[in-house]
């Protein structure tokens, strides 16, 4: 069984790579060991020697390449997030990220549609569809785009802002909204998040309380997170400091600032970037219930 899963995994990775090469994206490799990640409230980096960190995402380095004039970039790399282990999480996992200059998040949503159709057609030529909890999801059917507020009202009969105030956001999202999304037979895009849930995203021009961030769900499984990039250094620094204040309040270590990133951010053109959990894409392609089924070894097996 695992032998099949590893062949499928290799095929998905090769297919994803082909997709971006065919579209003229530059494949890059950036350092995995860095002095500072973007400080976020609920993401804990693994600290190594000399207080450097394993990357929690390649975004800091990828955006510096955008600042340097690159237009279309992608990377498939390992990321680490401390203490994350569940049926959909591994502390060490594989991330696909891509970035585009001169675009906003709508372009990335289009990329997602094309990418999932491409993967389904190449890796699952017979069914051309994914399976999650015995539900068949076809990327060739029209995708719904739902705002986060609309999703909370429609599926939970509750207001997202009120949930945030009461500390119920995660609970309602995972126990009400995500299960509702699992019933869709095409992928779904949740978009326009409250800005406190998008530390590196640009706010909407017509509503400063909302960020141009979206999440891609397939069969209720959260697959990717993308946004229009914030490129204002002062605003970015303020949000990182806010994240560190929250970290301090909940007893987590305050993290160092990625200064070279903040220093070059002013040179970043209007752009958009997205991170997709590649392990989860393999899970969907394999119809696997758990992430354990599609990796060579889980930490417990080591």
């Amino acid at each position: 069984m695992k032998l099949d899963a590893l062949w499928l995994r290799a095929n998905v990775i090769k297919t994803v790579r082909d997709f971006f090469w065919e579209r003229g994206f530059l494949e890059v490799e950036t350092p995995l060991l860095i002095p500072a990640n973007a400080p976020e409230e609920y993401i804990n980096p693994i600290i190594t020697t000399n207080s450097w960190q394993l990357q929690t995402s390649p975004e800091i380095c990828m955006k510096r390449l955008l600042c340097g004039g690159h237009q279309k970039l992608f990377q498939i790399s390992r990321c680490w997030r401390s203490d994350e282990r569940g049926s959909r999480h591994l502390s060490e996992f594989t991330m696909l990220e891509w970035y585009r200059a001169g675009c906003d998040y709508h372009t990335l949503m289009g990329d997602c549609e094309e990418l999932l159709q491409y993967v389904a057609a190449k890796c699952l030529p017979d069914s051309r569809s994914f399976v999650r909890n015995s539900t068949r999801i076809t990327p060739f059917a029209p995708w719904e785009r739902i705002s986060v507020q609309e999703a909370f009202l429609r599926f939970g009969q509750t207001d997202v802002w009120e949930c945030l105030r009461k500390g119920l956001y995660e609970e309602i999202l995972t126990s009400v909204v995500e299960p509702a999304l699992a019933g869709f037979s095409a992928p779904v895009i949740l978009m326009d998040y409250p800005k406190e849930l998008a530390a590196l995203a640009r706010t909407k021009p017509d509503d400063s309380e909302l960020a141009e961030r979206f999440e891609l769900y397939v069969g209720g499984l959260e697959l990717a997170n993308g946004f229009s990039e914030l490129n204002k250094p002062d605003e970015q620094r303020r949000r990182f400091e806010e994240a560190n204040r929250t970290r301090n309040n909940i007893g987590q270590a305050v993290l160092p600032m990625p200064e070279p990133f903040l220093n070059t951010l002013a040179m970043m053109p209007e752009s958009a970037g997205i991170a997709m959990g590649l392990d989860r894409l393999v899970m969907l392609t394999a119809g696997a219930d758990t992430i354990d089924e599609i990796v060579a070894f889980t930490p417990e097996e080591l």
Binding site: E40, E41, Y42, I43, D83, E84, R85, G86, S87, R88, H89, Y169, E170, E171, L173, T174, E178, L197, A198, A199, E215, E222, N225, I250, G251
Partner: protein, 187 residues
């Protein structure tokens, strides 16, 4: 103390004073959000199931449970008394706590008693026990009615199905995991 990072299937913790066994666990973390630790737990005293979700920073008291070899002594009303043969310490358990295990308790039977602090919360029985049949209908020779079993009462009062050839006074082996007749003890 345990933290949320220690949560996994099989962990035993104390909740509202009762010991609970974690029977299902998952880590859930929506993008950019706080981690949630979802558990399903079984109350080790009354068997009821409970769903609880925890967040980072919460902690739990470990439930220390001890299994001790004891011998069943006697029953008085609904109270069953067991004794540790080494220390002569006695514990009493209610019929309700014992559940089906009471069907196999014959004086001097050796069992494993699960203790939560001072309190006995359950017992493990040997997989097989020998019990004598006290009452069952006589098997009419030449009965061709096709019945391949009949009810029998054993010395603990437990009633089960046995093959037609078993007679009152015979010793039989019962599988305590299923409650079913296993074989006859010859001689």
């Amino acid at each position: 103390m345990y933290t949320v990072a220690d949560l996994k299937k099989g962990l035993k913790i104390i909740l509202d004073g009762d010991p609970y066994l974690v029977v299902a666990f998952d880590f859930v973390k929506p993008g950019k959000g706080q981690a949630l630790y979802r558990t399903k737990m079984r109350n080790m005293i009354n068997g009821s199931l409970l769903d609880r979700t925890y967040r980072s920073g919460e902690s739990f008291e470990p439930a220390s449970l001890e299994e001790r070899s004891m011998e069943y002594l006697y029953k008085e009303g609904e109270h069953y008394t067991f004794m540790d043969q080494q220390t002569y310490e006695q514990v009493v358990m209610e019929e309700e706590t014992l559940g089906d295990a009471k069907n196999y308790l014959l004086e001097n039977l050796k069992v494993e008693v699960m203790l939560f602090g001072e309190k006995a919360i359950g017992i493990s029985l040997p997989n097989f026990v020998n019990l004598r049949v006290t009452e069952t209908e006589q098997w009419a020779k030449g009965d061709t009615s096709g019945n391949d079993s009949k009810p029998a009462t054993v010395e603990t009062g437990y009633v089960l199905r046995v093959p037609p050839f078993i007679e009152a006074g015979e010793l039989i082996v019962i599988d305590t995991r299923t409650g079913e007749y296993s074989t006859r003890v010859k001689g």
